[in-house]
Symmetry: D2
Subunit: 352 residues, 4 copies
């Protein structure tokens, strides 16, 4: 029950601390016979990893995934896919300054309280480095669902919002800039803002929007395992996420039923899509879209008070390189978790 697995039929279990020997995981339930595109997996890994551009952390994580099982002659065999991502620099950093100290808004304090002690090297298990394993599992899920299109992008950075509806955006431009915002003007302003935040030794949050197209009708289960409920859980399980909304979202709560109802076309599609592609927890074939809010990461280069394990408040300054805005790097993680959720429901749907 320790919460290191996600999914029921496409089941992903991850292990690994930020500064241990390796991260890794097991994908159990991937159907046999899928011809894997390993370059596509590496590409998603590269999109997630630090050091891609001037606006993200320069810390190096080669993130080379090694597949150990479940693949034969380039195809999945139906047996569990085990993989590891070695931590090549796990001994290079000095974490003695946080050994006995709880950094504000990190998990240090609650880990010590919950487990009695902790692996104090970096974030240990609470580090976002764990999401590298999710990206591997998500990349394979995407290949399993090759007809479904998942596109995520940064729609706001701090106070800067891209308000253009997704239908008017060109998703092919998402990767054209380091912010991963498909609107070039907004991207430039966001990038400038992040550079400024970095100079301040500060961090900033943002929002990732995700659009899923070409979804078959019928994915998702009624009652507890609604499609949007699992998507919500998947997104909220990503480090630093504070909110999730789909379709009309929070603004839908201000509307009247007569405005909000999506009227049908004769072919079962709807004229509007405030439902966000999901009705009663089940996909209706329209685009699924949702927004994920990320808070600013807690590690800043400014001096802040921390608590030590003897109850003393002591000033602490972040060391090394920091990540002023993780939101662009979160884009492939959002896509990966969405793919895992869809893969799971796709398999569940085959049991009817």
């Amino acid at each position: 029950m320790a919460g290191n697995s996600f999914g029921k039929l496409y089941k992903v279990t991850t292990f690994g601390e930020s500064h241990g020997e390796a991260l890794g995981g097991i994908i159990d339930g991937c159907p046999p016979g899928i011809q894997l595109d390993f370059e596509a997996i590496e590409l998603d890994m590269a999109r997630r990893k630090p050091g891609q551009s001037a606006i993200v952390t320069q810390r190096k994580e080669p993130d080379a995934v090694q597949f150990l099982s479940g693949i034969f002659e380039g195809k999945t065999t139906g047996t569990p896919i085990g993989f590891i991502i070695p931590n090549t620099n796990q001994k290079s950093d000095d974490y003695s300054h946080i050994k006995d100290n709880y950094r504000p808004s990190h998990a240090d304090y609650v880990y010590d309280q919950k487990y009695g002690f902790r692996d104090y090297r970096g974030g240990g298990r609470s580090s976002a480095r764990e999401t590298a394993s999710r990206v591997v599992a998500g990349a394979i899920a995407k290949q399993m669902l090759s007809e479904i299109k998942i596109n995520a992008y940064v729609s706001s950075v701090g106070p800067i919002h891209l308000d253009t509806p997704y239908q008017e955006l060109d998703f092919s431009k998402i990767e054209s800039n380091p912010v991963r915002c498909p609107d070039e003007k907004s991207a430039a302003i966001m990038e400038e803002y992040i550079r400024d935040i970095r100079k301040q030794g500060d961090t900033v949050g943002g929002v990732v929007t995700c659009v899923i197209q070409n979804v078959p009708v019928g994915l998702g289960e009624p009652v507890f395992d609604k499609l949007h409920a699992e998507l919500g859980k998947a997104m909220l399980s990503i480090n630093a996420v504070k909110g999730f909304e789909y379709g009309s979202g929070f603004s839908g709560s201000e509307m009247k039923g007569s405005e909000h109802n999506d009227l049908y076309n004769p072919d079962g599609t709807t004229k509007t899509n405030l439902s966000g592609g999901i009705q009663g927890g089940i996909s209706n074939g329209m685009d699924i879209y949702f927004r994920v809010a990320f808070k600013p990461v807690a590690t800043i280069m400014q001096t802040q008070d921390s608590l030590d394990n003897k109850g003393n408040i002591t000033p602490m300054t972040g060391k090394g390189r920091h990540d002023p805005c993780v939101v662009p790097r979160a884009v492939p993680i959002v896509e990966a978790m969405a793919a895992i959720v869809l893969a799971d429901f796709y398999l569940i749907n085959k049991t009817y």
Copy 2:
């Protein structure tokens, strides 16, 4: 995998259609020896049921729960608690007008597509009547966690928002008005607004805020089963929910790390609580608070186009009584799901 269970150690499975013989469920994993307060269970059932006041639906659902097992001499025995809630009026309504018709923004269409056919009497399994079983399971979870305090209330109805921070509200006033808003002025305006919506034969959405106090440090699991991820899934699994945010939520995405970090007091509490009582997915002992957005329910008394199963668009008018704003009735459901999530993590935490 059909998604009718929630929780791992405090596990709730529900069954029942809105117009079948009965609803019901099984609570598996409730520890032995809990002296049950049956009046408290009935009270929560009464808070959820229709017909409580002039601003909710007048449809009658007596909602009398019958416990069939797992309780002996008033105490839980540790064996599964089976219960049923008979549907007393399941034959009284005429649903022939929706037999072959898909109502806009209902689950009718996707059920037919997914299952090949459906129980067309009312919403069937997709009806919010299913949440009655959740309230039973939540009411028992609350009693298991008697020291934890869970208070939910309506913080907005359509465009009318209560912006007062929860710390300044008197939760004892939540039940003093039919809107379940603890601020009397706002409650009056909201009630007036709902009456107006009802006259229009329309519906309106809203937001429920929930505050959980007196939570022990350590509940929640790292990685996928973060406390807020499970709370999010639980809330998003409630009918009509479109969004979930906790702590600083979406507005936290606009902040800088230097503003957002919650600095410690020497006792491990924090001076601010933008984290919303959860760090790294684990409760830190501060108040947990979150917001849940509900869209307006789809059944309106106005005429709207619907689709029939032969591909024809035909106008349809809602019959019988309707519920102009379900948000007040959703308050006990939000509390119930929160209690179930906490009960589950409370038991998981005992395994360390």
Copy 3:
């Protein structure tokens, strides 16, 4: 984790004590569109219930199952099937003599130790009456798998063994005698033996053999969830079972590989079937057959020492009617559990 569910995709959860209001359960995951034969369900219930013949207990259990959900116009809908079996005589018996006493080889003592107290009316949750719910779930599983044939029969009672290979038996004769032994001569001897045991106020064990025919190739999962491992768990979960063997079983451990290997025919069938229809945990299309050993039930009409909850040894004599040999009544339970296991793997196999 309280162990009241069985199956992953065809998932059965049961509740109920022998002397509570009702037994019942939920079948979650039954596919939609199965036209149910309710008489066949009742027939299996009748085969399990007490009082069928002179050689079983005369205690009355009407065992009328009431379906509450998941069925519409006679067909399964794909939503959970909730059902109850009221306990009509739950107040008629006097159990005060066992309130503070632990009967030998019953679960009384361990329940008190584990849970702190217990529902002392009869066996409570540990009563074999719980298996009535399994028979309901198994009867529906059989209908889902209509092409697979499951036949169980009594192959030994106490020291009396039927050694005829199952291939030489006429399964249509199983129900022709109260022992449920398809060999009439053996059946007569067994029946005579049981009558004698009953006169002694004693009980006796026996063995049920089960044969499953017409199984598609491919059911069962490698590694932990091997088909025979799940069958074994299912059988061992039935009250009073002490052993399980399939195919060559314990006698196979005495053989050489050159004798035990099943050589192929060109069509993939095998010339012999010591494997028992399962290789590497996966069905190979040959008949699956296994044996289940039942100990004598603990309730006897003779006087035996019991322990009270103050540590005193006191003589105790069984009251009321007793069941000299439950093995004939276990036949439909064995079939039901086999059907549930097969239904589960059948659905799992659809995900490849």
Copy 4:
């Protein structure tokens, strides 16, 4: 649902094919703070590995386990323990002769039928090499349950049986001979028999008996997850197992209740222990003992007919080294699976 996990709270998931890069697994749910004895883990690995003595296969498997996470400064941290066991000789063997051939009583045929194709290098996922990962997980479970004593030994090899009750055996002698039989006379006869079988190029089965002592009262759940049902599943999931019996087992089915009932001593222990330490599925504090039957392994050095994937019957002779009797090597696997089951129930029991 692909069946590569075992356990609910102490959850073990394994991956790896016999001739892939590596085997490995994840232990999720191991409590924090357990000081690990790595030598004890290596010792159990050494007991399982091939080439230990003249009577087992001489194939080399170094079986060096590498822990990648979940351990810090020698102690478990409560986070998932990931580990790998590299396959050092995965390219040395020539398996082209079985690429298109189905060996009798192997899983080759059913894998091809189930998955559409298979990793034909050795047994792939169906190889008993997978059990190396179970031994790792079991060795850690044993350390978690340090007060419980688990001893398994070989009690029969082919037709040679050790009939001495376990109470009269000296478990310290189990490792004193290559057969792992604590009775030296029987061990010598069994060893001689196995040498003879090896000369014949044949294989032979046998029985492992396992005794678990010092078990607290209360482990195991009523109904489906009875302690012996999970033990049975665990044992039946080990390659080549055909049967499981505990306590009085199959012979108990021949007894009368008046003989079989275990009468109490005033302290709650019982005078006899035909129940095998478990009543109603729950441990009663007495010794748990059970027997596990292994068939002879299918790979023999004699010529036997096999089937190719075009439907031709062709003679085939086993190549390389073979294992005339795997039963001695199965002893640590039986212990490992027993430890995993107990660890799981131990954690479940903490939730009451």
